[in-house]
Subunit: 289 residues, 2 copies
């Protein structure tokens, strides 16, 4: 039984869509609908929102490892905020919250991307339920021991990543897709609680990250080129060995030399801090149930 | 004769395209080409670039009125920087620089937008020259006494505004269009200096701003809705009286009640500070020469 659900927005302060969906539901609670669980609307990083930045000191969504939550030597806004959120929604490992839905956006045209950290029946059925009812839904898996995501505070969780939208911008198409996804997840939870879930698909395809490609840099560490126009905006398509992936400022092209893979977060503006060009994943089929 | 030209990038610190075009030309000066004028590569706001922000204290591109440049009571990074730039490239009114090309990007799909502040023959011929040689070029006019733009430091100037790209992002398609536009402007200046300009078009259509539409707000001053999906991404198209322009969070639509006009900078991320939804302009035909 899922009793306590937190809908989280603003884990990244410049991703306005989730933040304003919370705002809408606070102002018009009837639009949430009737549910057989308690719903908490939770704004994660208000200071980053006010600064219109992803974060002030450290990415909040990389700050929820148990080792970090219990490390008193870590300072800065997000490290303290993570501990505070862990008290409010958690604590991780023995959480008062059963389920967290964490709302994000991307500057890449990812469509609707659901990120899981677990492949148990509950999470696979949830992802399948949404994918069967909306267009352009992809599922990715970021499995790791002691996860750093905010949502890992609760035992059940899903991250909703929708794009493309610029940072600090509210697009109705992205907003509407976010709300539709959230309402489908609510519907799934209601049916789950009532033991009325429909038969799931036999299997589901999930993208599993195995590596990241970095932007080319020069001897000073400065960016030396750009994501190739032939790769830009091709999120969740297959990148083949031998394709050009970068155009250098000197005019040369860099050719991809590696296993064929699915690429996403292509040229994501939020990833320039680390000079990441795109994420690389393999597609794997999971049997459901 | 145009002897001294400044190519300016980074007037807004999170618009990377112009900044990296300067970077490219510094590293590979041969790619600039041969010109019959002196070219200076000028990075305007390095501190804002390092902070990945449009500006620190005040929009630099609103800080070049003569009254502000001579006002010693104005403090903050950009007010001081404007005075410094005015010394380096200007001074405004008696400038050592003949021409400034100022490179910008927009999060809206503006295509290639050339912004003029003057409609003399030189500027009309320049805009026409580019428009005849590239697709999807629009010309806008922002005429005002004692202009606040950085480029107004030099008597001849053009602002190049290209989109769509997110802030803090480098897209090859936008970068390539920016470089192509810059090279066409260089070509125009070379021909102008040699008295070899080709016959211009008879006339040119220019968008003239007359108003700005603000986002809807509630009693607290918070955003109460979004740019309507039917308006989003329609930059430089005609908005007609009676069309929906906003979708409020309560589900209502706001209908446009005003003169038919051309809209641009639709849902521009940089304009959320002022809660601007889009700019409104009239199209006017100018005879050239």
């Amino acid at each position: 039984m899922i009793n306590q659900v937190a809908l989280v927005g603003g884990t990244h302060g410049n991703e306005l869509t989730g933040i304003y969906l919370l705002h809408k539901y606070r102002q018009y609670p009837k639009l949430i609908g009737n549910n057989n669980f308690e719903l908490e609307l939770f704004l994660a990083n208000e200071k980053a929102l006010k600064a219109n930045k992803r974060y002030l000191d450290r990415d909040l969504n990389r700050s929820f490892k148990l080792t970090d939550l219990s490390d008193d030597s870590l300072f800065g806004h997000e490290n303290e905020l993570a501990k505070d959120i862990n008290q409010k929604l958690g604590p991780k490992g023995g959480s008062r919250t059963d389920m967290i839905i964490d709302l994000h956006t991307s500057t890449a045209p990812m469509g609707i991307n659901l990120v899981l950290t677990k492949t148990d029946t509950f999470h696979l059925m949830l992802a399948d339920f949404v994918q069967q009812r909306m267009d352009n839904v992809s599922i990715t898996l970021e499995k790791m021991p002691d996860h750093h995501f905010l949502m890992s505070v609760a035992p059940q969780h899903v991250l909703v990543e929708i794009g493309a939208t610029a940072q600090g911008q509210l697009r109705q198409d992205v907003f509407d897709k976010t709300e539709e996804t959230v309402q489908l997840i609510f519907k799934f939870l209601n049916l789950y609680n009532n033991h009325q879930l429909p038969q799931p698909s036999e299997s589901i395809d999930i993208y599993q990250y195995f590596d990241v490609m970095f932007l080319p840099t020069d001897l000073n560490g400065d960016i030396a080129g750009m994501v190739h126009h032939g790769v830009q905006d091709r999120d969740f398509s297959l990148l083949k060995n031998g394709e050009p992936i970068f155009t250098l400022f000197n005019g040369d092209e860099v050719i991809y030399d590696g296993e064929d893979c699915y690429i996403s977060f292509i040229n994501e503006a939020a990833y320039y801090d680390d000079k990441k060009a795109f994420a690389m994943s393999r597609k794997k089929t999971f049997h459901i149930g």
